[in-house]
């Protein structure tokens, strides 16, 4: 299934040009990386299984989200990025 998603920061600001991909999963997914559009949106094709998606903002912030397909998801996949270390 094709899902839509968005990458945002902790304040809800949408992140353009972030890179999104499957970090791990239980089913085959291509190791391609998806670039978010100017509004932080992306589309991703996921087969049935469990996946961890990772989002990498251009400034180095990172976020992840676990997704199950088919699951109870309604609406967009939302990846919230943050600094992985205190700055």
């Amino acid at each position: 299934m094709i899902y839509s998603g968005v990458v945002i920061d902790g304040e809800g600001k949408r992140i353009a040009d972030a890179l999104v991909g499957v970090m791990w999963g239980t089913a085959p997914t291509p190791e391609i990386s998806i670039r978010t559009d100017p509004l932080g949106n992306f589309r991703i094709d996921l087969p049935p299984g469990r996946f961890r998606l990772a989002g990498h903002a251009p400034d180095g912030r990172i976020g992840t989200i676990d997704v199950e397909v088919p699951g109870r998801m309604t609406g967009d996949i939302i990846i919230v990025v943050h600094w992985s270390c205190p700055r």
Binding site: V22, M23, T26, P30, E31, S33, I34, D45, H56
Partner: protein
Amino acid sequence: VPLESVSNPVGEVPQEPPAIEILPEPLPGNAGSATGEVSRSAKYLAVKGRLEGLIGGPPSAIESVIGPDERTRIVDTELAPWRRICALRVLSPAGNFIGTGWFAGPRTVITAGHCVFHRQMSGWATRITVIPGRNGTEMPYGEASSTRFSSLNYWTETTNPDYDIGAIHLETSFGDQVGWFSTAVLSDADIPGYLINISGYPGDRGLGNEQYFHANRILRVTNSRVFYSNDTAQGQSGSPVWIYPAADAEPMAIGIHNYGVGGTPADYNITANSATRIVPEVLDQMRAWIETNG
């Protein structure tokens, strides 16, 4: 206990001669006209030759970076073989993507099929920019864009990972400068022992602008795929999987990296990333692409 007589066979027992597997001639590589300076990264990081036998892996885990991340950034990407590997910027009707490709001819860049055609792109890519040997903001050989791509019908019709191969046809002979990989089919008997090298442009480190490399061993081989413990990440789809048949040999591509550990069947009981294997039918198609487009 009833006994039965058993006697030794008389005379020589005729034996079937072993089947001889005839493999196609490899596609030749090319060093390119750019500097022939030896890469220190290649000298110290690349693995050559083979170790006999497969090694077993731990029970299946689920990350493309298997254990500690052992990828190393390549900084002398203006040298061979790194300059033959390209960062890809893929534009499609349904969004933009990053991937990796590698030169197999003067104007032919090989990549994963899903970098040129995929459902999440709504079909074919519209434009792909190829950046050989990109190193951060440096583009030592510039960049070139193309709107002509090819894949295999088995990929576009079934998206079967066994046929996840694509080609980008460039208008200019970029490969004459940066060179290109030799490409070969290895037999079932020959392939398992080789040490393999993978280098590409991941999104999780360097945002697809920096080349990362890892060397390791093959864990399993099937008719159409190669499974290994080399670390990779999203964005490295399309990277060359290459060997050095001997210590003084040129690099030889034997597969196209395209899936993380989720692409390895659970009943293999290994933690492995994987590539589409170069088999005779694939090599024939690559040869045709190069003969047609250069």
